[in-house]
């Protein structure tokens, strides 16, 4: 059937099961927006393309599908870059569609022209500038396949305006059924024998393990050994002792230290995690991405396969290896007046089922340490890139994907980066509670600088956050102490819509 490239693009979104797209229109995506308006796909207009990118990412993290985000050429496309890099670092499948100037103008530095495929080359799994209307259908289908296949990640398809306007042949096609990568016959026995020879094995679940919660639980139950996660793996198992690494739980780090074999599932051993492993521990590394095996930490045995298939194959070959990791006290938190980090542990009392989103900074560490997450898709945090300004967009996307309530824990530094998305949250009527940890400083950096160097990290001219939130149409309350926070949480849990609780936090409050 003949149709314009723009119409075909929207048809392909529909055939791929896309019900929601996030985006921001502009001259070079007008044709695509015209076709979108004529379709049944819901479009969420954000306040900036950056918010749209994070929302599409959060949509995918919470809902499990592929996020889709549309932006125009030039500044629209460059505003996506941080969101694309965030999705790339955390392996989130998102299809980014950008418009570009007509082909005849490509390369002439025309108005709102930018080489977005060049810019995003190192932060996408794959990208493409579509050269003819005939290439468009295949390119978009390839984009969806690559975003989901193996280790997921973001892809970008750049469509010049005249390609979207041009005619192409569209014939419907079912989305490709992807076969998860099966383990090789030789990998499984050698991994199993290493596990069998160990006395104190431990399972380290990363972000990749969250795709296989059932298989992970069966394996853990069979092996009957301790389980810890990485920060990206939080939520992988309800039996986790906590997350490991520099900012992790002391109990989890101690357990990892005491183990004689680590069975790592779907983790890339970021520099925040890798340090204790250096030539110390014996490692069985399970990862779908072969390039991660041996990249940061050498493995004694490895299984290059989908987590679910690898764990399923290993489970019958291992026998119980129960042992008790040492008990250690968690680090103390030094709360100097105001709301304490630990008070975040009361969030679950009022929001037992809510998604939890964070930005980046001290508050992020507090949130992941004190708010329990038992659900593989329940935590939206920018682990790899550490993107301040991620949380609000991601929370909106997560709410829209799942219909669930969300709690965003943010700081006054991060919140100022993308608070414009309050408008999106209010307009889309999501149920979102923002806990703004306001310490009037960029806490994490503040702590790393010496006394005389800290002026730059002090946030001196701040808006009145309560009135600001109200002006967006949100409800807003102040919490000056732990007990006040609890009362506010209770009120917030009984109030629908977008709510902000400004938590006054002492500037020197941190986890020791």
């Amino acid at each position: 059937m003949k149709m314009t490239g723009a119409q075909a693009a929207i048809e392909i979104l529909r055939e791929q099961g896309t019900a929601v797209v996030f985006g921001y229109p502009g001259a070079n995506v007008l044709e695509i927006y015209r076709a979108l308006a004529a379709s049944d796909i819901r479009h969420i207009l954000t306040s900036s393309e950056a918010g749209a990118a994070h929302a599409a990412d959060g949509f995918s993290r919470a809902g499990g599908g592929v996020g889709v985000c549309i932006a125009t050429s030039g500044p629209g496309a460059t505003n996506l870059v941080t969101g694309i890099a965030t999705a790339y670092m955390d392996s989130t499948p998102v299809v980014f569609i950008t418009g570009n100037v007509p082909r005849a103008q490509v390369g002439t530095d025309s108005f709102q022209e930018v080489d977005i495929t060049g810019i995003t080359l190192p932060i996408t799994k794959w990208n493409m500038l579509v050269r003819t209307p005939d290439e468009l259908c295949d390119s978009l289908r390839t984009a969806f396949r690559i975003a989901r296949e193996g280790r997921p990640g973001p892809v970008l398809v750049d469509i010049p305006r005249d390609v979207a306007l041009g005619l192409c042949e569209y014939s419907p096609k079912e989305p490709e059924v992807l076969c998860p990568k099966a383990p090789s016959d030789s990998d499984i026995p050698s991994a199993a024998s290493l596990v069998e020879r160990s006395q104190r094995p431990i399972i380290l679940a990363g972000g990749g393990a969250k795709t296989a919660p059932r298989e992970l639980e069966n394996f853990r139950a069979r092996l009957d050994c301790p389980l810890v996660t990485t920060m990206m793996g939080i939520g992988a198992s309800p039996h986790s002792l906590g997350f490991v690494g520099q900012n992790g739980h002391a109990a989890a780090n101690a357990a990892l230290d005491a183990a004689d074999l680590v069975i790592a599932v779907g983790t890339r051993f970021s520099d925040r995690v890798a340090r204790p492993f250096e030539d110390k521990l014996s490692l069985v590394h399970i990862d779908v991405d072969r390039a991660e095996i041996g990249k940061n930490v050498a493995a004694a045995a490895s299984v290059e396969a989908d987590a679910a298939l690898a764990l399923k194959a290993l489970t019958p070959l291992v026998t119980p290896k129960p042992w008790s990791p040492p008990t250690v006290a968690e680090k103390r938190t030094a709360a100097r007046g105001g709301v304490s980090p630990r008070s975040l542990s009361t969030v679950r009392r009022y929001f037992p089922d809510a998604l939890v989103a964070t930005d980046v900074g001290e508050h992020q560490i507090w949130a992941v340490r004190f708010i329990g997450v038992d659900d593989p898709r329940g935590l939206l945090t920018p682990g790899g890139l550490g993107t301040m300004g991620f949380g609000l967009g991601a929370a909106v996307g997560g709410c829209i994907a799942t219909g669930r309530r969300a709690v965003l824990v943010t700081g006054d530094g991060s919140f100022m980066m993308n608070l414009n998305e309050l408008a999106t949250a209010v307009r889309e009527s999501v149920d979102l509670t923002v806990l703004l940890m306001r310490n009037r400083a960029l806490g994490m950096v503040h702590r790393k600088l010496r006394r005389g160097e800290r002026a730059v990290t002090e946030l001196k001219s701040q808006p009145d956050f309560l009135r600001l939130a109200r002006s967006f149409g949100a409800k807003a309350w102040l919490a000056r102490s732990d007990s006040e926070l609890e009362r506010r949480l209770e009120t917030a849990s009984k109030t629908s819509g977008v709510k902000l609780i400004e938590c006054r936090v002492g500037r020197d409050t941190h986890i020791g």
């Binding site: 080359l121 050269r131 390839t142 072969r290 390039a291 990249k295």
Partner: protein
Amino acid sequence: MENIKERTLSVLVDNSAGVLTRISGLFSRRGYNIKSLAVGETEREGVSRMTVIVSCDDRALSQIVAQLQKQECVRRVRVLENANQISRELLLIKVSTNAQNRTQVIEIANIFRARVIDASPGSLTLELTGEADKSAALFEMLGEFGILESTRTGAVAVERGSGTIYDE
């Protein structure tokens, strides 16, 4: 870092836009320096072959191979063993000559089996095919006459014997 040596990789790639940037960018942003790179079409339509020489240790080599294999545009990667490969590069070298020393330059060219492909009253241009050390040796021999300019390709390489990059 141990066992650092030169490694030759043969990479079959789709002959499409942006592939060279994608592959060379992959090397540079992961911190691997390309010593030599050559790309050309193959006997198969739509398929190009890259020969990349990098200096690295065993661990980096397996990481490079794994990163290459992840690329959508990469069809096959093969590491050619140094002892089991034939490699050639092409050198064009323009030497300053005059009536007195022209025959001397031609004699040196003959020793190296280089061919004279252009001549002028003040210069001779030679073409040499061979392994990298042969080019280096010719450079050394011609230095005293004055090298006006030179250019060389990256090396291309294949496995010895009947084995090919297409073998499983």
